[in-house]
Structures are given as structure tokens and as C-alpha cells.
């Protein structure tokens, strides 16, 4: 559908104004909101994610596109009032206790939202109990944790331990990342996955929520 192609294209250009106008137009043309979301907004973000992964575009371009995506989603929201915004799954993310860095975590959250996940961002300096409690209450399928200091990485292990103690391992999956974090560390603490950047995190979370 031509209008969806244009939404995707304008989103890739980071043109918030045009994306908003086109999304409104598509709703007045009675195109189902779910189709606008998938075929316009998410499709555009997929292209952006891939171009970013290949270093063809840079962080500001991704963030401009994400802003356009958010604007489009805001217009679509009322159409989903009854059944709620469709999503690939709920992810609770945060930077672990003791750690105030949050740009990396923010980027991961933005890319996950762009891919169609519902993201609950707990911010930074998040206590292990808070990750687990929120994920349980919200029935999230994934907890995503970020740490930028080696000294705060052990909090990630505490979250995994709490999930074990509450028999939630398997129901709530975990993914970890951040500059000093490694795949080996994820294995060592029993986290379900590790990711080195935001584009990779999207693919990894998709794999985590895929039914076995």
C-alpha cells in the first residue's frame, strides 16, 4: 500500500511531522491501525535497525527515526484502546543498582520499542527486587539489565538468583549488556542471553520470546 511505504520512508528520514500526518491520513482512509503499525512504522524501523547494524547510518539518524516512530504510535494508540497496543512481548529494562549510566540502556529500550516490544523502563540504579517484582506484576517475558561498571555487574547475578528462588526462570528470561559485560559472564551467572549493542539486543530478545 503506497501510503504505508511513504510512512516507512518518512520515518527513515526522521521526519516526525510527515509521519504524523501520514498516519492520520491512513486512519481516515480506514486502513486498520495494526496494518499501519506493522507495514509503516515497524517496517521503517526495521530498515533503520539494519542500516545502523551495517554502519550505514549513525546514532542520531536512529534516534530521529525513533522519535518519528513514537509520534506515529501516539496517534495509533486510541485505535487500540480495547485490545491494547499490539506487541511482541513485554520487556522490563533498567540499569542495575549502583549504576547511574543510562544512555546504553535507553538505546536498547528505544530499539526494542521500535521493533514492536512493549518496554517498561525502570530507569537507573534499579534494585534486584524491583526488576523481578515489576516483571512479575506486569507479566513481562523478559528482564533486560544494563551495567557500565564491573562493580555493579554482580547485581545482574542477584536478579537471576531471585528469579530462581521464585521459580520464575524460564517464564521470565534475562538479557544483559553494557561495556564491561561479556557473553561468558552471562553464562557464568545463568542469564539467558547477552548482547553487545542495541541492534543485536532486538534480535536476541526476539529469539528469547519465540515459542520453543
Amino acid at each position: 500500500m503506497e501510503i504505508l511505504d511513504r510512512i516507512s520512508e518518512m520515518l527513515q528520514r526522521g521526519d516526525t511531522g510527515k509521519v504524523s500526518a501520514l498516519v492520520k491520513e491512513s486512519l481516515t482512509e480506514n486502513i486498520p491501525a495494526k496494518q499501519v503499525l506493522d507495514g509503516g512504522l515497524i517496517r521503517g524501523m526495521q530498515v533503520i535497525g539494519e542500516q545502523y547494524r551495517l554502519h550505514e547510518i549513525f546514532l542520531p539518524d536512529v534516534l530521529l527515526a525513533a522519535k518519528a516512530m513514537y509520534a506515529g504510535m501516539d496517534i495509533l494508540k486510541p485505535s487500540f484502546i480495547k485490545e491494547g497496543m499490539p506487541s511482541l512481548g513485554k520487556v522490563v529494562i533498567g540499569t542495575v543498582q549502583g549504576d547511574l549510566h543510562d544512555i546504553g540502556k535507553n538505546l536498547v529500550g528505544i530499539m526494542l520499542k521500535g521493533a514492536g516490544f512493549e518496554v517498561i523502563d525502570l530507569g537507573n540504579n534499579v534494585a534486584p527486587e524491583s526488576f523481578v517484582e515489576t516483571a512479575r506484576k506486569e507479566r513481562a517475558s523478559v528482564i533486560g539489565m544494563s551495567a557500565l561498571l564491573t562493580t555493579t555487574m554482580p547485581v545482574m547475578a542477584q536478579v537471576v538468583e531471585l528469579l530462581k528462588a521464585q521459580r520464575l526462570v524460564g517464564t521470565i528470561k534475562t538479557i544483559i549488556g553494557g561495556a564491561p559485560v561479556t557473553k561468558e559472564y552471562a553464562q557464568e551467572i545463568g542469564a539467558d542471553a547477552y548482547s553487545f549493542d542495541s541492534a543485536d539486543a532486538v534480535e536476541t530478545v526476539k529469539a528469547l520470546v519465540k515459542p520453543a
Binding site: F58, L63, K67, G98, L149, T150
Partner: protein
């Protein structure tokens, strides 16, 4: 005795290439007009929201020895560990560009002003590094004797958490320097609040070193900033 250095935002305005580097953009890359505008806007915000201050104090070799060994977790062999005993001057420092700028960045993210938030974050990180350069240059200009300068000593900067100096070294550095005086607190995780803060030691030495790859930390290092910085300082500052 510790001194406080008040700086202005224009003193520490970061170089464009440093901002781009933090954004993962290669220098020389052509940018869209939108991204150019974002950088200009971020620099304007940086100018209005940062309030850079540093605290610094010279220390003796024996004082520094206690601080450097910290909680006993350093790498066994480090460039700093091999260098400080022969240093002519050792200065501890801590600096912050203030909490307002971090709050501004978070606020922009919350308002979904994502691109500006990202560019301002990169600008603030580069600004914090520029502030450290400024502290180094200030110390060189004001505190190094003409006689020592004549011998063209090398000047290096190290920070807990880098180059084999374990991040837990922050504890003793903070105890000695008391950066609380300029509004920096150390969390139990050894993280400083506000976020855009830096700490470390400046070493002035007549014993030149390029480190080669004799140290494990240098082998693993991808930036080798110490080498570039040394060169820049010799060309412009030293």
C-alpha cells in the same frame, strides 16, 4: 592542600570530532543538515547547563603509593605502578560538569526528544574529558616550575578504572581529596554522582615511556589515548 578550579562552559567546550567519536561517527563524515543542527543545539544546551568545577591537590610519592594501591585489586603490572615512584609531580584531581546537564539529558529522553538527548549526552561526555585536559593544562601552567618545564617532562593522566588501576581506587582517592567540596559523591559501587564526573592522577615525569605493549592493559586497550594525548600536549600545551 586541595585547590578548587572554577571553569566556564566555554573553557571546556568539546571539539566537534570528539562529539562525533562518542556518537560513533567517523571524523570527516558528511552529516545531514538535521544532524548538524542537533550538534549546534546540543552545544548551546551544553553551554547553558554545565557548571564545571575541579578539585586538585599535589601528593607525595609515599602518599600516592597508599592511594594507588587502594583496596589491593590493581593489575600486577601497570604503567602507572611502574612510573609514579620516579615522578617529579603527582596531582590528584576530581571534576564534574554538574548535575543539571545530566538531568537535562534524562529530561530530553523522557520527553521523547531522543536525538537531541543522544547528541547532548555525547557532547557532555566529551566536555568532561575536555575539562580534564583543562585541569592538566592549568596545573602545567600554574604549578610546574620553569626549571622543570625546561627539561620537557612528560605529563600523563590516569584514572581509577583504567590502565590496570582498579576502580576501587576511588575510595582512597576520595578520602584524600574530598571531592564532596565540589559536589561529587562516591556511591558504594564506586560510581560518582553526578554522572558526568571524572577523577584521576596527573603524573609529571622526566622518565619518558611509550609503554609499547609491555603491559597486558595496553595490549587490550583499543584507544591508546595516553599516547595521542601526550603528543597533543607536547605540541600545544607542553
Amino acid at each position: 592542600m586541595a585547590d578548587i578550579l572554577e571553569m566556564t562552559s566555554s573553557d571546556i567546550s568539546p571539539a566537534r570530532d570528539d562529539i562525533l567519536e562518542n556518537l560513533g561517527i567517523p571524523s570527516g563524515q558528511e552529516l545531514s543538515s538535521t544532524v548538524e543542527e542537533l550538534i549546534t543545539e546540543a552545544l548551546g544546551l551544553f553551554d547553558r547547563t554545565c557548571s564545571p568545577r575541579a578539585i586538585y591537590a599535589p601528593v607525595t610519592v609515599s602518599e600516592f603509593s597508599g592511594i594507588y594501591h587502594g583496596e589491593g585489586l590493581n593489575d600486577q603490572k601497570t604503567p602507572l605502578g611502574d612510573m609514579y615512584e620516579q615522578a617529579r609531580e603527582i596531582v590528584l584531581f576530581a571534576l564534574t560538569i554538574g548535575k543539571e546537564i545530566t538531568e537535562k539529558i534524562s529530561g530530553l529522553f523522557l520527553d521523547d526528544n531522543l536525538a537531541l538527548a543522544g547528541v547532548l549526552d555525547a557532547t557532555a561526555s566529551a566536555g568532561a574529558e575536555t575539562a580534564a585536559d583543562r585541569v592538566e593544562a592549568h596545573y602545567w601552567d600554574r604549578e610546574i616550575s620553569a626549571e622543570l618545564k625546561k627539561n620537557a617532562p612528560d605529563i600523563y593522566r590516569f584514572a581509577p578504572g583504567y590502565c590496570g588501576w582498579h576502580i576501587t581506587g576511588q575510595k582512597k582517592l576520595f578520602r584524600f581529596l574530598d571531592p564532596g567540596k565540589i559536589g561529587i559523591t562516591l556511591l558504594p559501587s564506586y560510581m560518582m554522582s553526578p554522572l558526568k564526573s571524572l577523577s584521576g592522577a596527573i603524573i609529571v615525569t622526566e622518565k619518558s615511556s611509550t609503554f609499547g605493549n609491555a603491559y597486558n592493559v595496553c595490549k587490550q586497550c583499543v584507544t591508546h589515548w595516553c599516547r595521542t594525548r601526550k603528543k597533543i600536549f607536547q605540541e600545544y600545551g607542553g
